[in-house]
């Protein structure tokens, strides 16, 4: 069936709406001009400038560490929470637990950031790398839980029982049967958590401290001083990283099924 003019234009407009700004940003990252809006030829000078920018590179490194660590923590905790919610039956407080986990999905980030800041001040922790990491774990936990839970509730319980029946204690049944089968969802949860951590500005601003400036914080503070093509360059690299991650996750899932 040939797609109609209407649906073709609807799709192209939709895609343009979604990706137009990003394409523009990528194009201008290769612009030779210092002026963001004037095209004066292809150049990699802003990428070179980036490599010289110590502060920017520090921010990238901080963000990567925070992202990897918080995504890993929240994926582990989220997987355990999902197991509790799906597998443990109707234990007392199940609804309460689910509600409390999902509340952070709809909680305004400002409130989450502020409350974490108050907590860290109250227990007198020096704000920095660890506080951002913990805050991001809190932020991404609910998302990781939702992703793993969706997969786990479609997972045949009798597979775990079969493993136990064949002599595997519950923990080994989980590691050797459940985990390999929900691995795509766990990987997806990790990537989602990592991406959320990567682009979070609000919570990082509240909970970070000196010496732990994340990339979005650095970008934001620089943009306030004026947009610089270097920012286009780092953003393009970020987009490349996220895209690669998403495609990798998709390939991993596809291979599993084959």
């Amino acid at each position: 069936m040939r797609p109609s003019v209407f649906s073709l234009s609807a799709v192209s407009l939709g895609l343009a709406f979604l990706y137009g700004p990003i394409v523009l940003l990528i194009l201008y990252s290769f612009n030779d001009s210092r002026l963001v809006t004037v095209w004066s030829g292809f150049s990699l000078r802003w990428y070179r400038a980036l490599l010289q920018d110590r502060q920017m590179l520090d921010a990238v490194w901080t963000t990567a560490r925070v992202g990897v660590l918080s995504a890993t923590l929240s994926t582990i905790l989220g997987t355990l929470a999902a197991v509790a919610l799906v597998r443990a039956g109707r234990f007392r407080g199940r609804t309460g637990l689910a509600g409390m986990i999902y509340a952070t999905l709809v909680m305004p980030e400002v409130i989450l950031g502020l409350s974490l800041l108050l907590l860290f001040v109250a227990v007198d922790v020096a704000r920095g790398f660890w506080t951002v990491t913990l805050a991001h774990t809190t932020l991404t936990l609910a998302y990781a839980t939702v992703v793993v839970q969706a997969r786990l509730s479609g997972f045949d319980r009798s597979l775990e029982e079969a493993a136990q029946d064949l002599g595997a204690p519950p923990w080994r049944a989980f590691l050797t049967v459940t985990l390999p089968n929900i691995a795509p969802a766990v990987a997806a949860a990790w990537i989602l958590a990592f991406t959320l951590s990567l682009d979070d500005l609000v919570i990082a601003s509240f909970t970070s401290g000196p010496g732990a400036t994340t990339l979005p914080m650095r970008l934001y503070s620089q943009v306030r001083l004026g947009v610089n093509p270097e920012i286009n360059a780092i953003s393009t690299l970020l987009i490349g990283l996220v895209t690669t991650g998403v495609i990798a996750a998709w390939l991993v899932q596809r291979r599993r099924r084959a």
Partner: protein, 325 residues
């Protein structure tokens, strides 16, 4: 082959076992013994508690009351992975990420590698899947998957093999073949099989003895023949095949349609309905005592009776079984 001699000793005993889910008793005050080396069937309609009883034996449920003895030992405290009992799941529950060989080897962790590999080959041969070890479960047909599930459950050499509706997922023709194969395998191994089924034909054809369950309780435990010919209760009689339940003094009697004689002497009646089944014809006879069903083998040269024909209904003295309820 070691054919066990009668009287066989009990391998499993349920003593006053009850299991509740909320307010509902899935299994209530069950006393039951399964003998070593027999093919035992738990038969009943869905929701009668037969699956719960099996899951209690496998260790997936814990009894609220009573004891479950395996070889004389109370196994109530043992989790499923410590029980020498394996189960073939209704859905087969094959591990989709593992090959057939690795599925079968899953329960053989305790064995040295070479011995486990030899056992896997032995099991593959046993279920006639030689050379299929490297396939993934989704590359197999339903019948092959069923045999992998069987091989996987047999591989650790359990004391008892539990089979949860083992033939339910197979089509009719394959079901009959597999039924015979299961019985042959059980005889050859001399292993105790406990099969849960809602299919009376399956239970009657396969089991040495069977327990008919009704609403969480055991209604009757006997050989297939006894259960069919001498049902203890009305519910058992009605669950297993067709039956006429007729008033007799203060109580009731059960008469199977195939024992009913349509002839010249007996209770007078008139043929109300006929249904032709190829090998037999079923009649409903309207009599003063109500509608009586009769089933007659179709013999060459004999004309079936027509609707409206006057007949007399009787049955041989041994054919009527008094019912408890």
């Amino acid at each position: 082959m070691n054919i066990p001699v009668t009287p066989r000793r009990d391998i499993v005993r349920f003593e006053g076992v009850s299991k509740r889910f909320g307010d509902h008793y899935a299994v209530e005050q069950v006393d039951l013994a399964v003998r070593e080396g027999e093919f035992f069937a738990l038969l009943g309609p869905s929701g009668c508690g037969k699956t719960t009883l099996m899951r209690l034996l496998a260790g997936f449920e814990t009894p609220d009351a009573g004891r479950i003895l395996l070889d004389g030992q109370d196994i109530a405290g043992l989790p499923p992975h410590r029980r020498p009992v394996t189960m073939m799941f209704q859905s087969y529950a094959l591990f989709p990420h593992l090959t057939v060989a690795k599925n079968i080897a899953y329960g053989l962790r305790a064995l040295p590698r070479q011995e486990a590999a030899a056992r896997v080959d032995e099991m593959l041969a046993l279920v006639k899947l030689d050379g299929m070890g490297d396939r993934k479960p989704h590359q197999l047909s339903g019948g092959q998957q069923q045999r992998v599930a069987l091989a996987r459950a047999l591989a650790p050499r359990p004391r008892i093999l539990l089979l949860d509706e083992p033939l339910a997922a197979l089509d009719r023709k394959l079901r009959e073949e597999t039924q015979a194969e299961l019985v042959a395998l059980q005889r050859r191994l001399g292993l105790t099989f406990v099969v849960v089924t809602h299919d009376q034909d399956e239970a009657l054809a396969m089991a040495d003895r069977l327990a008919v369950m009704q609403a969480g309780r055991i209604a009757q435990v006997a050989t297939p023949r006894e259960v069919y010919e001498r049902p203890a209760t009305r519910a058992v009689a009605e669950f297993l095949g067709e039956v006429n339940v007729l008033p007799d003094g203060d109580g009731w009697i059960a008469v199977r349609p195939e024992t009913v004689v349509l002839g010249a002497a007996g209770l007078p009646g008139r043929i109300g309905e006929t249904a032709y089944f190829g090998d037999r014809t079923r009649y409903v006879v309207e009599t003063a005592q109500g509608r009586i069903r009769a089933s007659r083998a179709n013999v060459a040269g004999e004309t079936p009776l027509a609707v409206g024909a006057e007949v007399a209904v009787s049955w041989p003295p041994g054919a009527a079984t008094p019912l408890a309820e």
